[in-house]
């Protein structure tokens, strides 16, 4: 029952929860696993030098193109394109690798690169002229070195610089971020509380009271920033989880309904259909294709 969706954690023998790998080799050796929907317990940065196909992150299609960087948050369900071309590098790291203090945690949580407040970040990147290339080379070289006292700290700091430089590129390329405001604080807090409770708690007023604000304030925060009501955000989160669970075949629809706190599977089916225009079993069939 624990294995709700196939989760991939970091290899246990790795002393560092950080890897920088040749993407083509990785795709070749793990193709079977990677082309099925799977939830990775780590952040991915896909540096695509040559690529083709459609990658799915949480069931949203992302076009794989030459000279791009795609940032995939942890815990999202990935599906690599079985007919796709993935050439370049993959940087993989866990939250515990990067988050040495509360500032790191905040950075990773709020950064446009990985935040679920936005769509998946995909940047243009020209390896021949980008200063990111030097940093990628340096991380690869450092990663191959024999371990010593400095290796972890150097990789951690290089990754930090890499993320900051990537954010800067992102801004240059016109990605808009939400400006710090009281509303943004409420939204982020709401998202955090929702993440912990969405399986059991579905009412907007309950979340507002957890945040010690009124439903009106919460409503204002989400509609101003995301043009969505709190109810919509709650529904999206439940539906996303339902999709994630459905994409893994071992659980029955009844079990998934139960997991999501629906006592009657028919209610779950109706709810799912209302939000996705397909029944859970139709969705399950489609995702397997």
């Amino acid at each position: 029952m624990k294995d709700i969706i196939k989760k991939y954690t970091f290899k246990e023998e790795l002393e560092l929860e950080f890897e920088i790998l040749d993407l083509a080799k990785l795709f070749k050796s793990k193709k079977e696993m990677m082309t099925k929907p799977h939830r990775a317990q780590f952040y991915h940065i896909l540096i695509i030098e040559k690529g083709k196909g459609t990658h799915l992150v949480d069931f949203n299609p992302i076009k794989i193109e030459n000279n791009t960087i795609i940032c995939v948050p942890h815990n999202s369900v990935n599906k690599f394109d079985i007919n796709g071309v993935y050439k370049g590098k993959a940087i993989l790291f866990t939250k515990s690798f990067f988050c040495r203090n509360k500032y790191d945690t905040q950075f990773l949580h709020l950064s446009r690169l990985f935040s679920d407040l936005y769509s998946v970040t995909k940047l243009e990147f020209n390896p021949k002229i980008s200063n990111l290339s030097i940093l990628i080379n340096a991380m690869e070289t450092e990663y191959l070195r024999e371990s010593d006292n400095a290796k972890f700290h150097i990789l951690y700091n290089m990754l930090h610089i890499f993320l900051l430089q990537t954010e800067r590129e992102m801004r240059k390329q016109g990605y808009v971020e939400l400006k710090p405001s009281a509303n943004l604080d409420y939204l982020v807090m709401f998202k955090n509380v929702l993440e912990k409770n969405y399986k059991t708690e579905k009412s907007v007023s309950a979340y507002a009271s957890k945040l010690s604000i009124s439903t009106k304030q919460l409503n204002k925060a989400t509609t101003t920033l995301l043009d969505k009501t709190p109810k919509q955000i709650i529904d999206e989160r439940i539906v996303l989880e339902a999709k994630r669970l459905l994409s893994h075949s071992s659980q029955s629809i009844k079990e998934i309904a139960y997991k999501l706190n629906y006592e009657e599977p028919t209610n779950f089916i109706k709810y799912f259909k209302k939000h996705t225009n397909s029944t859970p079993s139709e969705f399950k069939e489609n995702i397997k294709k």
Partner: protein, 296 residues
């Protein structure tokens, strides 16, 4: 030595007989009984990859042949298997027919080192190291690299002097190379480079590097600027005879874990010439034997 003197005594005796036919017999006998040097055995063994000659395989101890080429299975069987595959490939594609031309070879104790141009699944240059026990080969290491179409210095990866000289300076020259590795390549005293490498002459055979210390500096600088400095992490062995010294090291080059085989020629206490091969390491999980690439 004793065998040889007996042979000479016998020869004198037979010559005294003044029997022409017997003399002829003796000559052939003498050739058979003469000890072939370990170096000659290695050169003959390598050449047999091309010619298919059977006898040189007999220089390998059939009960113990420790293979360190990570793509070849252990033992004499592994050596045979790779020759079989080569022959198969050559059958369908005559351009892949094996060719072997050992350019230089030398000995250090029980080790023989050979520097060879190959057609071995494509044109390659390679260093082979063989270890002998009781006149038979018991262990093999190598490091292969593809032959470059064009080199920065205009030299090939194998040309240049081949003659062994300064046989009395072996230890001195090996120490020079050990110190060069430790101080410069491993970074203990990087500014000492001119203590080891001649500022007047440094003939370079690495295909990507120009002649001279300036050429070396330029190549290493370009790598460092691109964020991928060449890293020497560990030296495994230094072998030499006279003016030639080979070092076997491991490290990182162009974002890959590699083995570095560097051959230096020493003249008057300074390195004046350099040949090398750099080969990517095969992960242990993909290796065909468990002996490791190094383990001297």
């Amino acid at each position: 030595m004793r065998k040889l003197s007996i042979l000479i005594l016998l020869a004198v005796a037979f010559i005294a007989c003044n029997d022409k036919s017997k003399k002829e017999d003796l000559k052939t006998k003498k050739v058979e009984k003469m000890e072939i040097s370990n170096k000659d055995k290695v050169v003959a063994l390598l050449k047999s990859i091309e010619t298919g000659a059977q006898e040189p395989a007999g220089y390998i101890n059939s009960n113990k042949y420790i293979q360190h080429n990570q793509g070849v299975a252990d033992g004499l069987a592994g050596f045979g298997a790779i020759l079989g595959t080569l022959a198969e490939v050559a059958k369908t594609n005559p351009a892949m027919a094996p060719k072997v031309n050992t350019v230089r070879a030398f000995e250090d104790g029980d080790f023989v080192i050979a520097h060879t141009e190959y057609n071995f699944f494509g044109p390659k240059v390679g260093f082979d190291i063989f270890r002998f026990e009781n006149g038979l080969i018991v262990e093999h290491w190598d490091n292969l690299q593809e032959i470059a179409v064009k080199t920065a210095s205009g030299r090939t990866q194998t040309d240049g002097p081949t003659e062994l000289t300064d046989l009395d300076k072996t230890e001195e020259n090996k120490t020079l190379v050990k110190n060069l590795l430790n101080d410069v390549f491993m970074g203990a005293n990087p500014n000492k480079i001119t203590d080891y490498i001649s500022t007047e002459k440094y003939d370079q055979h690495n295909p990507g590097v120009k002649d001279g210390l300036a050429g070396l500096g330029e190549a290493l600088g370009a790598l460092a600027e691109a964020g991928m400095p060449m890293v020497f992490e560990k030296n495994h062995i230094v072998l030499g005879q006279g003016n030639f010294v080979l070092s076997v090291s491991e490290g990182i080059f162009m974002k890959e874990k590699v083995s570095f085989y560097d051959l230096f020629r020493v003249e008057n206490g300074k390195v004046v010439e350099h040949w090398d091969t750099v080969e990517n390491l095969i992960p242990a999980s993909e290796a065909k034997n468990t002996n490791g690439k190094f383990n001297f």
